[in-house]
Amino acid sequence: MFGCGVYGFITRKNMIAILISLELMLNAVDINFAVFNRYLFPGQFEGMIFTIFAIAIAAAETALAIAIIVNIYRVAKNIDIRDLNKMKF
């Protein structure tokens, strides 16, 4: 799953597809946190707490990234990263 995310992150042109790949990677890491916590240290819950914080931060990051993408689309009418080589300055 993480490998899929990395593959998509590098190969995709569309910004939203890249964001989807990023979510895949974050999910893979979350699963790893929770499962290793469950198997190796079943009495403690640090992995679970880390997963909770990771989910919260991922939500924040996704919302902000989508706001930026929508704004870029409004300016450039285009969200392919290969074509976006120009910034404001």
Partner: protein
């Protein structure tokens, strides 16, 4: 020992995670990629439920499947024409991506194999995980308690809300034109 049914369920969930995540990054239509991502997120929640972290599974469904996916679908519909397909990738790009992915999988597999303690380990007995314990862990100030990160996340979310509004706001100059 685990029953046969739970093993079968685990295999189904794991296979669906793998298949749908591959589909999500290889499909040419962006809306389908979002749908496959939804399936992957549900399967992840199923994994959490299976290892006994019910709270985590519920949170996964509520935040990811409920919140983030809706954001994705809105953004896709706002920014791309329906039915438009992504063009074919160049071979160079694809090889680079495949190389990075295989390298990552190999590194993870190597770490798992060399970490002998994990091999052949049965699932430890489930300790009951009630909401009261999660609550005291999140809001306590002692050792292994996480009040400070909790508050930091709340500030981060606030900053994210304000930042989202500022970024997505329309300029007044553009409105006048």
């Amino acid at each position: 020992m685990e029953s046969l049914g739970s093993i079968i369920l685990y295999v189904i969930v794991a296979l669906s995670i793998i298949v749908f995540s591959i589909l999500a990054v290889t499909t040419r239509r962006i809306l389908r990629a979002a749908t496959y991502l939804l399936f992957v997120l549900f399967a992840t929640a199923a994994v959490y439920f299976m290892i006994g972290y019910q709270f985590l599974g519920a949170m996964q469904i509520a935040v990811y499947a409920g919140g983030i996916l809706v954001l994705f679908v809105f953004a896709i519909l706002l920014t791309s024409k329906p039915g438009k397909q992504a063009e074919q990738l160049t071979a160079h790009r694809r090889h680079l991506g495949l190389l990075a992915a295989v390298a990552g999988v190999a590194a993870c597999g190597f770490a798992l194999v060399t970490f002998n303690r994990f091999c052949g380990l049965a699932m430890p007995e489930a300790t009951p995980l009630d909401m009261e314990k999660i609550g005291t862990m999140l809001l306590g100030t002692g050792k292994y308690q996480y009040l400070l990160p909790f508050e930091a996340v709340s500030v981060l979310l606030l900053a994210c809300i304000i930042g989202g509004i500022v970024v997505a706001r329309r300029d007044k100059d553009n409105d006048k034109k």
